[in-house]
């Protein structure tokens, strides 16, 4: 039986990034295929967040190339990269990413409004995702009134609402108890499975890593092992 190998959604090649004397990434390379679910692990300061931001095109590394859905990010101008991020990438950071003035619902609807969706439709879609993440009853609250874990789930809903091809999440379960963490990872897995999106999760949690297809381990800004789970 011959199946064509799945297309590559994101690829980082020999990426270097230093901040002054501290080297965050020292030639990290990683490749993520369509529909693949990858855990990125490593000690604190090993460069995980930096790698994620490079894959998102937020950070332009000093050297190396990053490709996302067939585009070499270096060849795109800022406006093009912005549009690419808006349409193809869902991003979840460690904390503090919700707009404090907007309600949970409006935060989730925001990316759709940027894409010129009608407000009703955008808010309906936002409601759907908040419900799936178990925070539907908090739709009218502002981030300041939510717990850390609740905020994180709203942020995940916002990352998923645009049905991106690539979901990048930095410690999405860091603020959650083990039961909720499992539920949230399940939602992320099933949501990306439905849409065929690839998922990259930075995590310290072995259980989260085990729930994904592959684990990429970083040390000192370099990928030291890539093992496929079971």
């Amino acid at each position: 039986m011959t199946t064509s190998p799945p297309a590559v959604v994101a690829r980082a090649h020999e990426v270097h990034q230093s901040y002054g004397r501290s080297l965050a990434l020292a030639g990290a390379s990683v490749q993520v295929a369509e529909g693949e679910r990858v855990a990125v692990t490593g000690r604190s300061g090993s460069g995980k967040s930096t790698l994620l931001l490079a894959l998102a095109g937020v950070l332009r590394p000093q050297s190396g190339t990053v490709e996302v859905v067939g585009h070499d990010l270096d060849t795109l101008d800022d406006a093009q990269r912005t549009r690419l991020r808006r349409r193809e990438i869902g991003l979840v950071l460690q904390f503090g990413q919700l707009v404090p003035e907007l309600t949970a619902l409006q935060n989730v609807a925001f990316p759709l409004l940027l894409e010129k969706s009608a407000r009703d439709a955008a808010e309906a879609a936002a409601h759907h995702w908040l419900d799936r993440l178990g925070v539907g009853d908090l739709a009218g609250e502002r981030p300041g009134a939510l717990s850390g874990g609740e905020q994180q789930r709203v942020a995940i809903a916002r990352a998923l609402v645009t049905s991106p091809r690539l979901v990048l999440a930095d410690e999405p379960t860091g603020a959650l108890d083990t039961v909720t963490a499992e539920e949230v990872i399940d939602v992320m897995r099933s949501a990306t499975a439905e849409s065929g999106a690839a998922l990259v999760v930075v995590t310290h949690d072995n259980r989260v890593a085990a729930a994904l297809d592959r684990e990429v381990v970083l040390r000192d800004g370099r990928v030291v092992s890539e093992e496929t789970a079971r």
Binding site: L53, V58, A79, I89, F95, G96, L102, P111, L113, L114
Partner: protein
């Protein structure tokens, strides 16, 4: 610029003190000009205890018709005092700069054992000192202002308020500064509420003063025009209206933001409306000066319209000069307001730079962020300015011209005044948004995504 402004803000105290100095300097200078105008009532008094109208004493000879005539001088004086409001409101705005980081510092001080009184005293001192410096700098600022105003004859080239007024103004300015500073530090930094109270900053005192002033003004409409009591009560009524308008600004902010939120269909509209709605007090205060300026512009417009109708425009006399000079003064005040709007915008942008950086990281373009900023600034300022101009134009017409119709040139002048105010305020809002754009661009940079 891109790196300087945020650096100043990070230093926090520095830029705050700078704006406090500038605002108190301008306020002091305008107050001294008002005092000089007020002193004209006593010009020539020492010689024979008789206040003659035009042409008595050196100062009176040097000033123009409107200021020299005791009948219209009251109006000029009132206008001058109203124009003290924008710099005072800017001072108020400046005092709130960096509130969040100061609150963290104050909390640390409290945890280290400082009493609430210690913290309040520090807060008072932090404002009183630059306010005093600004007050002293106000004296040379007044001299510059005097040479500018002497051209159209609003002040005599040599006029100076009596020397005893100067220390009084300085002490007053420092006390106001200490009071405002202490108020800014009045909340105990230990323990903060999580839930946003949408109605915080809204007080009934503003609308109450507005209503009281309007009622008082209406009772004066039929009263004996020209008597001392009439003049005094009219002054009180106008004062209440001005303060009421300023105090109602947060309500205007709350109202327009609610409405804008319901109607928002794009991302920038939504963002702008919510940013105003969560802090109507701050947004309203930032724009409050616009109301006072609208009032001046509306009144001046109708006044000029009347003069033109009477055929005196450009006739070599001073009405036209007066109207133009008042309008120019209002425009300068508008620049101060633009500064005030900018200070408020910088504050709200910088406080939420991480979230802004995230919006940019997830695909919000700088154009969308810019648009949200401009909308946020305009949202409150434009309705406040237009309301002020309308009250000024209609109030002035009603006050001085009872029984006459509003038709003809006066109506044209009122409409021109209101539209002109709309245009000026739009321009000020645009300027404010431009001014803070470097900060807005900086806030969107990915460095702010970093964990703290």
């Amino acid at each position: 610029m891109r790196t300087v402004v945020p650096a100043l803000l990070r230093a926090g105290a520095g830029s705050r003190a700078l704006v406090v100095v500038a605002a108190t300097a301008v306020a002091t200078a305008v107050l001294m000009a008002a005092a000089s105008i007020a002193m004209l009532w006593f010009d020539g008094v020492p010689s024979d205890l008789v206040v003659d109208a035009v042409g008595y004493g050196t100062d009176l000879e040097a000033v123009n018709w409107i200021v020299a005539d005791p009948g219209t001088r009251g109006g000029v004086l009132f206008g001058a005092i109203v124009l003290v409001l924008p710099p005072l409101l800017l001072l108020d705005q400046a005092v709130r700069l960096g509130a969040a980081s100061r609150q963290r510092r104050d909390a640390a001080l409290r945890l280290a054992g400082a009493t609430r009184r210690d913290v309040r005293a520090l807060a008072a001192l932090e404002v009183a000192l630059p306010a005093l410096v600004g007050g002293v700098l106000g004296i040379p600022t007044f001299l510059v202002l005097r040479s500018l105003l002497a051209g159209p004859g609003f002040l005599a080239p040599t006029s100076f308020p009596p020397l005893w007024v100067v220390p009084l103004v300085l002490v007053g300015v420092a006390l106001v500064g200490a009071g405002v500073g202490a108020r800014a530090g009045k909340d105990d930094p230990l323990g903060t509420a999580r839930r946003v109270d949408l109605r915080s900053g809204l007080s009934w005192r503003g609308p109450a003063a507005l209503v009281a002033g309007a009622v008082l003004l209406v009772t004066q409409l039929g009263a004996g025009y020209g008597s001392d009591l009439y003049l005094l009560l009219t002054f009180v009524a106008l004062g209440l209206i001005v303060l009421g308008l300023v105090g109602s600004a947060p309500w205007v902010a709350y109202g327009v933001a609610r409405r804008a939120l319901r109607r928002a269909s794009t991302a920038p509209e939504l963002l702008a409306a919510q940013r105003v709605l969560v802090a109507p007090g701050a947004a309203g205060r930032a724009a409050a000066g616009v109301g006072a300026i609208g009032l001046t512009l509306g009144t001046t417009a109708v006044f000029s319209g009347d003069v033109m109708a009477m055929g005196q425009w450009g006739g070599g006399d001073t009405y036209d000069v007066g109207a133009v000079a008042t309008a120019v003064a209002a425009l300068v005040a508008l620049a101060v307001v633009a500064g005030s709007l900018a200070v408020h915008a910088v504050e709200s942008i910088w406080e939420s730079r991480r979230e802004t950086a995230f919006l940019a990281a997830t695909g919000t373009t700088q154009a969308d962020l810019d648009q949200a900023l401009l909308r946020q600034v305009r949202l409150v300022a434009v309705p406040l300015g237009v309301t002020g101009a309308t009250i000024g134009a209609l109030g002035y017409s009603g006050l001085l011209l009872v029984g006459e119709s509003l038709a003809g040139p006066r109506l044209v002048a009122a409409v021109v005044g209101i539209l002109g105010t709309w245009a000026c305020v739009s321009l000020a809002a645009w300027a404010a948004a431009r001014l803070v754009r470097p900060v807005a661009v900086d806030a969107a940079r990915p460095v702010h995504l970093r964990t703290e």
